[in-house]
Symmetry: C2
Subunit: 476 residues, 2 copies
Amino acid sequence: MEPNAEGRLEETVAEVDRLLERHRLLEAVARRQDTPRSALLEEMQHRQNLVELHKRLRSLHPADLGHILESLPIGDRLVVWHELTPGLAGQALTEVSLGVRESLIEHTSRDALVDMLRELDADDLRYLSESVPADVVDEVSALLDARDRSWVEQTRAYDESSAARLMMQDALVLRDSQTVEEAVALIRRRGRLPAQTDRLFVVDSRNVLIGSIGLGTLIIADPGAAVTSVMDSDVRRFRPYDDAHEVAKAFERYDLLSAPIVDDRGKLVGRVTADAVMDFIRSSAGDDVLALAGLRKAEDLFAPAVDSARNRWPWLAVNLATAFIASRVIGAFEHSIQQLVALAALMPIVASIGGNTGNQTVALVVRGLALGQITANSAWHLLRKELLVAFLNGALWGTIVGLFATIVYRSVPLGLVMTSAVLLNLIIAAIIGVSVPLVLHRMDRDPAQGSSVMLTFFTDSMGFFLFLGLADVFLL
Amino acid sequence: MEPNAEGRLEETVAEVDRLLERHRLLEAVARRQDTPRSALLEEMQHRQNLVELHKRLRSLHPADLGHILESLPIGDRLVVWHELTPGLAGQALTEVSLGVRESLIEHTSRDALVDMLRELDADDLRYLSESVPADVVDEVSALLDARDRSWVEQTRAYDESSAARLMMQDALVLRDSQTVEEAVALIRRRGRLPAQTDRLFVVDSRNVLIGSIGLGTLIIADPGAAVTSVMDSDVRRFRPYDDAHEVAKAFERYDLLSAPIVDDRGKLVGRVTADAVMDFIRSSAGDDVLALAGLRKAEDLFAPAVDSARNRWPWLAVNLATAFIASRVIGAFEHSIQQLVALAALMPIVASIGGNTGNQTVALVVRGLALGQITANSAWHLLRKELLVAFLNGALWGTIVGLFATIVYRSVPLGLVMTSAVLLNLIIAAIIGVSVPLVLHRMDRDPAQGSSVMLTFFTDSMGFFLFLGLADVFLL
């Protein structure tokens, strides 16, 4: 179960791929053969192959298994999935992304799922509780001891993006009356430290957090010293309902490896560790990439096509509605186009450059918001700066576009209209590109989700309107 | 210098903002006042304000200072910057992003920069060496002892996205002949553990890495035991030239807090720690968001407008070139548009829905590549799936678009042409959306950079060509 030293994961993936390839081949042969004798032979080979696959999978680290499940198309994924022992399957389930997890759970019987979840600890069970049917979670958590059960119940209640969702239960806790020697004895009794432990927490008699002690301090300090005399009492702590993004930022900023979570009375309820934060940073940054493109967060790369298509509908529908409006803007100028058909060929350029520059602004603002770099004061500076950039870009690219139009259609007035339309559209793109993500953020919504579609709506419609309108006034 | 407990960073930012506000106000007043007496008074107030700012800044954690510098518009940023002591300024420099770092260094005299860098350790100096003029780095590293100097020299040579760039020098190292007791004594002698230490590394007499010991093991193990008898010999290790992305993936996957870096002979050269990996994950994921929008990686949110504009030119130029080509595609069908002007109003819908669905595919593939989930085998499955999704979406949205065209222009043939054009354009979008990032990745280029522009080129040009071409054949 140890991670492969020296990064042999690629080889493992290739090996599993080879076994799956053989599996598919044998299945295909089995379908074609009819004579009982060779069918039996095939069957035997088939079984032998699966046994080999089973053996190979059993030796893998759950994280590697998770990675393999993520990278396999759905058919192969299920072959691998059904070869796993319940314990390994449960652990692998905690390692895969939400989309893949849902696809696996969908293809697992209720009983098999219960078997898998029984093998997990309370932290893992809580982590999976969003994706698993509530009655299954209830059944499994009923098997836990009272403390673990109430932990699962309590933490399930918190919001998906709260600190509580990153929280683990297994912290090593010292009482303020203990000595360094007793702390060491505590660790010895446990036999090993909980994963990702860099410090022990110190609480008073009411379980209120009063400090923490790094492992280095425990090693260095005088064994007879009171823990309170060597502890660090200025500990960065979080509440269960804090935004997980804020927790992640604090970990990055202060190079934390673990941090305590306390309730409103200051009582220690759990801890957040670096591994959970790393996973969170990766997945929330990846979500931004998807959200900007108008995708719901959790799409599995190899989801069935119907599920994928449906996942993409909401924003496509919005996009289409805005495209219809843009189309009606053009429709209103049909008489102008009829008189000067060059307008039809040139108008998409105005819309396109507006959309592109605006999307650059949107990406910058979304990233700035994710990093917490935009304040009320700096938002104005940002808008002013983006307007200036838009003006510079508009003057430069507008002139180039104008020259293109002048040369291709041998008309200076047409070129001037083109230049003005590009300049104005870039200014609109800057305003929309800065303000839409900011407004969404203010409304406590994800600034990445939908910003781009909204922006394109404005840059398309206004691009067409400005260009055709100016042409109508000055050229016709 | 301790991080604020309970997340008081927001208040600090607000306080610094207030001081800066007063600073601007006093400066504005000073410019207007001419009588010497009140000028002196203003001057005194002004100084007092700066002293207060100076004091406030000095109490901040360098990471908080970095955050404040990031979120300030350039003018305010420099006021804060010039109030910092060299030591604090040097540390803050390691905390800010590349773009902001460049802006700060640009506004710092060579001598001041040397003063700041002298206060840093070899790791921090190496980290900054990309952004600082080479002769300044040389001058400062000449002041380091021989070992540190050669460390800076050696690690500077590695590629920007290599494991070496995440590497730190300060690892605690044990010899294979030592006992647990001696290891503890070593830590005691140092007085404290290097930051982010969860394990000590064990080397043989030739400095070849043979294992590692977690701090928990050191606490639990029998003091008389040889370190080789309690160490973990299966340590995930990396080479200096390994891709930093691979290192980050391994940290996430195996929940590592630190890992050794060894050279080709297996000798220990340094270690990578969780804090560096977290920063790397965040910044590379943020880079994807920017790259997909056609921005170079390091743009500072508050860079001077001219710098920002120039930063965005390369992809805008490409975008414009492709827009010109798309425009010429339309130009080739001017006679058709003249005959049926409705075509001009409808054609952007075909291009727009193609661009949007294609960008959804691009985002999925870019994220899948970033997570290492796409293999040669699964790429085909992905393409097939995306084609199926395109077909489903094309049939659905194509029909809706066709109905829109039929109703608005009262022409069933026009609606059918529209439906077919949308369906075909979505299929092209799927092919381009899957293959462009994959090809860029195969060519060892960033799949996020430019994928979107290339895609839009195809979906625009082909959208116009398909729609106008079909209309030309079937309607006119």
